[in-house]
């Protein structure tokens, strides 16, 4: 038996979210003594990393029809390989790629699915997986009763364990049929840290009074190696681009560190950030509701506090 993990790549390198999925599969396989097979579309450069996190084998699917992101053809490839490898469990990341592929795969394989897992499967009484529900306000334990199963892993929620396996590489040609979607253009952010994958995020809100004041936010983010984000009103007023908007209607994130500057902490904002591991709130209003969800707080004026933080962070990295 084996566990199949779908791994997304960017220029041949496996995405961080996919490496987490590999580690999740390897940790699941540990107790059930199964082989972990990573599946990629096209070739992978960073095979060492797949081995580090526990992949025994890499199957590189070669198909001329998947030159762009084609979720239904990728799902078909996973289904075919699952059949060949006699696999009943497939793992994907619950990143945007996994969200596009997994529901299609679930129908194709007739597999029950839990998306956004935050813990390893518990097989002591059936197959039960824990996931966040109510937008981070609770957890549910969900049992999959079908023979075939799919689990998608919430990014940045699983401790990556090192297995240091040797990964055997196979290439398989598959005829997946013609794509039904024609991709015209891809806009992939190249230089900045993509917000959903960032481990540290510095975010600011209306308290900053205007877009011209964002330099200090960017300076702090740069010193900490963090991505920048903003609250909804700031995106709505076009002070910052919409893809930076975190919260219920924008991007939901769960970094290790979230620093919120001049954001009051409305429940809609919290729904997008409340699973961050450490939350720092900086606000002039000591009654701001965000302090109730914070680990560290500073009641003070951002225009005085942030430059000092930037200096302190600089000294730290010096």
């Amino acid at each position: 038996m084996s566990i199949i993990v779908y791994t997304s790549t960017k220029n041949g390198d496996v995405l961080k979210s996919s490496l987490e999925a590999v580690s999740y599969a390897a940790q699941t396989a540990e107790s059930s003594n199964q082989e972990v097979i990573a599946l990629s579309i096209g070739n992978v450069n960073s095979v060492d990393e797949l081995g580090k996190y526990g992949a025994n084998k890499l199957i590189q699917v070669q198909s001329s029809s998947v030159s762009s992101f084609q979720p239904n053809l990728i799902a078909k490839a996973i289904q075919e390989i699952s059949k060949i490898e006699d696999s009943n469990l497939c793992i994907l990341s619950h990143d945007l790629n996994g969200k596009a592929i997994s529901p299609l795969l679930s129908v194709m394989m007739n597999a029950g699915m839990v998306t956004g897992a935050v813990g390893l499967p518990d097989d002591s009484n059936g197959f039960i997986v824990r996931k966040g529900v109510f937008s981070g306000k609770a957890f549910a334990r969900i049992k999959i009763s079908s023979e075939k199963k799919i689990v998608t892993v919430m990014p940045n929620s699983i401790e990556k364990k090192e297995f240091n396996q040797t990964t055997n590489i196979e290439s398989v040609e598959l005829d997946l049929g013609a794509p039904r979607i024609k991709v015209l253009e891809q806009k992939i952010a190249s230089t900045d840290i993509p917000l959903p994958e960032a481990e540290k995020v510095v975010s600011a809100g209306r308290g900053l009074k205007g877009p011209e004041n964002w330099q200090m936010v960017e300076d702090l983010a740069k010193e900490l190696g963090a991505a920048t984000a903003c609250s909804r009103p700031v995106a709505d007023m076009d002070w910052r681009p919409h893809h930076e908007h975190v919260g219920q209607t924008g991007v939901a994130i769960r970094p290790n560190l979230y620093i919120a500057i001049g954001i009051s902490g409305a429940i809609q904002h919290l729904a997008g950030v409340n699973q961050s591991k450490v939350i720092v709130v900086i606000n002039t209003d000591k009654e701001a509701p965000f302090f109730k969800s914070a680990d560290y707080g500073i009641v003070g004026d951002a225009f005085e506090v942030i430059p000092k933080l930037v200096e302190a962070a600089k000294r730290l990295s010096a």
């Binding site: 596009a100 966040g132 039904r180 806009k187 219920q248 209607t249 680990d295 560290y296 730290l316």
Partner: protein, 246 residues
């Protein structure tokens, strides 16, 4: 364009989250329910805009019991032409998708809209499952949709960026921010909604592949540790040596 918009009923964003029956059921006592925001603000409103500019019809569909009817009426008040409710309470995404596809497959919809996820179970599953069941292309996390005859140009979120693509109807999409702006129903809409059709149909599937065993609340957050605004350097110190994250 003949359009179907799938709407889910969810607790209001500000609703308190509590569980009952030994943590096996969500306690709905005193909870205000709304249409799932992504289904309403983005999917339904964009569907109505398409109908307004090029004609056609917009049907909303909900899978649930009679207690969902007031929520469905709100979608009619916003402007949908008619509504269908599949009479089954389900927490299994595949069951929900099968019931939606069971209805949709005979109807010949050009576009089936869903929201990108629901704010209660956060699954992001049903839209894609409907597409696979109906054998239609699925475009997830779509933030922009333009139609030119039967050809759609769509912008969608992918890992690390965005993608612009072309697809022919029929297709299924899940709507994300950017697709449209929320609309508030007006008095005329609310009055009209009372007489619009809300057809109740029996489920075509009752199979489940998943079941919720139990719920739990996250551990309570500890007290916030305050750092003096005169000495913010201390924060950096704490993040490095106490929280150990920088």
């Amino acid at each position: 364009m003949k359009i179907l918009v799938c709407i889910s009923k969810v607790p209001d964003t500000t609703a308190k989250i509590a569980f009952k029956d030994n943590n096996t059921a969500y306690d709905t006592d005193g909870v205000q329910f709304i249409i799932n925001p992504y289904d309403e603000w983005y999917a339904l409103v964009r569907a109505l805009e398409i109908k307004e500019s090029q004609g056609g019809s917009v049907t909303v569909l909900n899978v649930g019991g009679p207690e969902n009817d007031p929520t469905i009426r709100k979608a009619l008040a916003i402007g949908a032409d008619g509504a269908v409710r599949v009479n089954i309470n389900s927490t299994d995404a595949m069951n929900t998708a099968q019931n939606i596809a069971g209805f949709a497959k005979e109807e010949g919809f050009d576009i089936v809209f869903c929201g990108k996820e629901t704010i209660d179970y956060n699954g992001s599953q049903v839209g894609g499952m409907i597409a696979a069941l109906l054998d239609m292309p699925y475009i997830s996390y779509a933030s922009k949709l333009d139609l030119d005859g039967s050809k759609a140009t769509i912008e969608r979120d992918i890992q690390g960026g965005k993608e612009i693509l072309e697809v022919e109807v029929p297709f299924v999409l899940s709507a994300a921010k950017g697709m449209a702006e929320a609309r508030i129903p007006n008095m005329r809409g609310i009055m009209a909604a009372r007489t619009k059709p809300l057809n109740v149909i029996e489920p075509s599937s009752s199979d489940n592949m998943t079941e919720i065993v139990s719920y739990e609340l996250p551990p309570a957050k500890g007290e916030c540790k305050f750092v003096d605004a005169e000495n913010p350097e201390e924060l950096i110190e704490l993040l490095r040596n106490e929280a150990k994250i920088i």
